[in-house]
Symmetry: C2
């Protein structure tokens, strides 16, 4: 079966506060990067997946996000799948 | 000044162990996703930046990574900058 490289980005939902992001924003301002706004911090998850097709891989990763990788109440996720070279 | 949307991905360096990634990999296997390998977990950071040009924005974000966002000993970072629509 072909190998796929998967990248998942899990971010706090836009409508929710992100205290970690706010803390980093304040720290960036204190370091002189005053032009930064709206910092949001989430998780970047990368892995390899052996799967029959890209569609099947994406379906499988979506199930992983819903069951383990993301909190469906507070987080949104974005999936990128590409065939390993 | 134009606004840029910035995405930074900070990942544990390839040569280092990633215990969080290993834990998630075991959990995925236990949930029936046995075809997953090499899970690595890092941070996804998004923000807006007012800046004169994309080149200047990227230079500024690189400085933020080196000074605050990433640990230069244990982490690699990847920067994506695009003009806000």
């Amino acid at each position: 079966m072909p190998d796929f490289e998967v990248e998942v980005r899990v971010m706090p939902r836009e409508s929710l506060l992100d205290p970690q992001g706010q803390t980093v924003e304040h720290a960036l301002h204190a370091l002189g990067f005053g032009e930064v706004r709206g910092v949001r911090i989430g998780r970047a998850i990368k892995f390899s997946l052996s799967c029959g097709s890209a569609e099947e891989a994406e379906r499988s990763v979506r199930a992983m996000c819903e069951r383990l990788l993301a909190n469906p109440v507070t987080e949104d996720f974005h999936i990128a799948v590409r065939k390993a070279s």
